[in-house]
Amino acid sequence: MSITYLEAIREAQRRALRDDPRVYIYGQDIATFGGAFKATKNLAREFPGRVIDAPISEDAMVGSAIGAAIEGMRPIIEMQFADFSSVGINQIVNQAATFFWRTQVACPITIRLPSGGNPGSGPFHSQNLESLYAHFPGLVVMTPATVEDAYSMLLEAIEINDPVIYCEHKYLYNRLKTEALTEAELPPHKARVARRGRDLTIVAYSAMVHESLAAAEQLQRENIAVEIVDLRTVKPLDIDTVLASVAHTSRLLCVGESWPWGGVNAEVIASVATHGFHLLDAPPQRINSKDTPIPFSPHLWSVHKPSSQVIAAAARRLFDW
């Protein structure tokens, strides 16, 4: 029996609801309908009154979760699409993210953002907002790339005493499968070496880990051995694992699906340049989506975001530098 990335998210929520009476889920169309992507399918029936349909009010959804968290609950907010979380951004970045700093009272909420594109999703159903949320102090921003991480990191997000932005990638929902769910080997804020290699380091997260792994397979045939670091959580950033990898490859390529200006790639490169400039034999490189809104046409979209071919080409140039 196999389990998908999406089923792992559902199972994590089922387990949290079963084991912790403080947990409830609030979001649009999540009760009877089971969510736009079915991440909460059947959960409302199994846990009556704890999987609740919300009006189309992202600000109020997050605000209410903050109030409930202060009163001891562990709310999970499902945004229907990551894109719509910007309607609730004030509550996320000003109310939730600052709450512990201002009051010494924890604000443990989990906000699930179905992120990233699928063919035909267009400018407002495809966004990756991890860089935006990572900018604000006080938020934890998770970007799981594997089925196992989708499961264990969501459970950890609920456990953590801080507000967590949990970016789940829609492209991975049904494409990624594993045989069985396992307990996490790493704490959620530690990066993972997803593939060992000696020639260059690719730092990626979420769906871009898989594009990078595909690129590494191509490059292996050309005798270029790529090491891949999966950040897992982008805020706080585990720069130690990145530096350790760069220390033995001396080359760095960062891959992210969000837009290029600022952001996770820029932060990784700035940190490596600051703390590990002497480790580098070549200028660090980055690949992001193009600096335009996300196109609807599957043809346009296929070249808007980083692909394994583009990653492999950049890695070759870096290897030959």
Binding site: P55, A60, I66, G67, G72, Q95, W101, V140
Partner: protein, 344 residues
């Protein structure tokens, strides 16, 4: 004064009305004294940032703070010194927060009106108006999950704040969930410098209640007796399962937006209209007229309040300011995340 006043919290029986009125009046008086002191300290350059006062709306604020019971929830806003004290805020919190003391509830990390005691049900506001309404609503959802069938949550806002999307979203959501939420609007006629005519187009903000499918009331916010009656009814109805209540108190902001603002834009004719009355003076003459308190008694209360305010301010002023070398500069509550925060 503080301790004896709190014994009367939440009592609304008609026979106790004089006691309730006197209690609420004393909170108004104390709040006025606190705010006069804050204004003086600001003018003396002792307070960084702004000082925002609630002169003219103490009756509304004091009434809701007095009517809430221990165990209820309160999300006060800018001009709620009276309600905050009545709900249980220690006076020293006011001065510590304004001075940026490290002993204060925000450790000097936030100032002036941005203070609260969330563990005691008093929520700290952020500057983004309307955003506290859903927080109080969510806290009530939590109480419902935990089986608390008696708690009421109240939050306050001004006329300007009712124009925000957050205000609308939160009331609509609370109405759907039938939460015991009392939203108190002090229509003090000005949002900073913007008059009602540039803020909304309905006759009375209480009319909006009907659109939300909740109960709405309008009241004279300069009349403490009316505030206690109307808000008392609203709190009682919320508590007995009638869902959210919207109460609009009509008054006038008898001060600038903050102490730096002389309110030159204000229509001075409003000062001579019924809403321009000073609610504290109105309450004082009512007390005397009813024979519930003599002039001497009121003068004694005033002296006592002044003494408490001076003591509290003096204590806070002697305490250390927040110290950059002792600040831990960490926004995270989770130990392992905090370690990772420092490690980068």
């Amino acid at each position: 004064m503080l301790d004896t006043l709190r014994e009367h919290r939440g009592e609304v029986a008609p026979s106790l009305f004089p006691d309730l009125y006197i209690t609420a009046f004393k909170w108004m008086l104390l709040a006025r004294m606190v705010e006069e002191k804050l204004g003086n300290l600001w003018r003396a350059g002792k307070i960084a940032g702004g000082v925002y006062l609630g002169k003219g709306q103490e009756a509304i604020s004091s009434a809701i703070g007095t009517l809430l019971k221990p165990g209820d929830l309160f999300g006060p806003l800018i001009r709620d010194q009276a309600g905050r004290l009545a709900f249980g805020e220690p006076m020293i919190d006011v001065f510590r927060t304004h001075f940026g003391s490290r002993t204060g509830p925000t450790l000097g990390r936030d100032g002036n009106v941005h203070r609260g005691r969330p563990r005691e049900g008093q929520f700290p506001m952020i500057s983004h108006l309307g955003s506290l309404v859903s927080v109080v609503a969510g806290a009530l959802m939590a109480r419902r999950f935990k089986g608390d069938k008696t708690a009421v949550g109240a939050t306050t806002i001004g006329d300007g704040g009712t124009s925000t999307g957050a205000f609308h979203e939160a009331i609509n959501m609370a109405a759907i969930e039938k939460l015991p939420l009392v939203v108190v609007v002090s229509n003090n006629r000005y949002a900073y410098s913007t008059p009602n005519s540039r803020e909304f187009a309905c006759d009375d903000l209480a009319d909006r209640a009907r659109g939300y499918g909740i109960e709405g009331y309008s009241m004279d916010g300069t009349d403490l007796g009316e505030c206690l009656e109307v808000l008392g009814k609203a709190v009682e109805r919320a508590r007995s399962g009638c869902g959210p209540q919207l109460v609009v108190g009509h008054c006038l902001r008898l001060t600038g937006h903050a102490e730096h603002d002389d309110a030159f834009y204000m229509d001075k004719r409003l000062l001579d209209s019924p809403i321009g009355r000073d609610c504290l003076k109105v309450a004082e003459s009512f007390l005397r007229k009813q024979g519930w308190a003599s002039e001497t008694q009121i003068e004694n209360w005033r002296k006592l309040a002044k003494q408490q305010v001076e003591e509290s301010a003096a204590i806070a002023q002697c305490e250390p300011q927040a110290d950059p070398r002792e600040e831990n500069w960490c926004p995270y509550a989770t130990e392992s995340i905090a370690e990772a925060h420092f490690n980068r």
